[in-house]
Amino acid sequence: MNITEILFWFLTALAILSALMVVFSRNPVHSVLWLILVFFAISGHYIMLNAQFLAIVNLIVYAGAIMVLFLFVIMLMNMNSDSEPQKNKWLKMAGTVAGGSLLLILVAALKNSEVQYQKVEGAQGTIGLIHNLGKTLFTDYVVPFEISSVLFLSAMVGAVVIGKKD
């Protein structure tokens, strides 16, 4: 095992364990903190794939902005593990079985697919760097970029209108 494989398996185990803790921890604040750890592991995966721009954007947008928003909302509602609503255990078990069945079927369907002989080499290539992505974004994808600014504006107006006290 070279250093790349060790890092890959470490980040994978970290992501999956933290994702499980997001689902199974009773305190919502702990769930948010575990989800931040998942995002850090995913950013590590992006760095190993040499997608440096996406790694930084993932950290700034998700772990920095969105999760802080979640933490603020949870803090405003003063939620803790005592006030946490729980489904009854049969519904929980049914949900877990349903999700596990989907996992089983997807893994079984893709286990022997053709694509598995393809390789992913993280170290080579510069397509994930900001130089190439910025050039593509502002030549071929200018219209979606501008439309996304309109989307942000409408989301902001919508959030203000919905959150306003009437």
């Binding site: 995966h45 997608a51 877990t96 390789k119 397509i127 994930g128 190439n132």
Partner: protein, 111 residues
């Protein structure tokens, strides 16, 4: 790394998100599990982009095949950020009206 490992990692994270949506009753946790599923898809897009780049780079080392997929990930993050602002505003409004974020109390349209 074979592409298989990334596919199975993304599938596992996606299914954990689905289990979270199905087993929790807190609206905020359900929302966080949806974010988890979006991120699983993002990993898959980046891994496939590098896979196609590697296949194309053997013929032409100066190619930039695969940068579209990474831009799609960027746009998914943009849409997710807009979605979170509106969704959290809706959850705050719901908490103000019924003093709970339990989704079982959200059945007022039924009556």
């Amino acid at each position: 790394m074979p592409i298989n490992y990334y596919i199975f990692l993304a599938i596992t994270l996606f299914c954990i998100g689905i289990v979270g949506v199905l087993t929790r009753r807190n609206a905020i946790i359900i929302f966080m599990c949806i974010e988890l599923m979006l991120n699983a898809v993002n990993i898959l897009l980046v891994a496939f982009s590098k896979m196609h780049y590697l296949a194309a780079a053997t013929a032409n080392p100066a190619t930039n095949v695969g940068s579209e997929a990474q831009l799609f990930v960027f746009f998914i993050m943009v849409v997710a950020a807009a979605e979170v602002t509106v969704g959290l505003a809706i959850i705050v409004m719901m908490y103000r009206n019924i003093h709970s974020v339990d989704i079982n109390f959200l059945n007022r349209l039924k009556h």
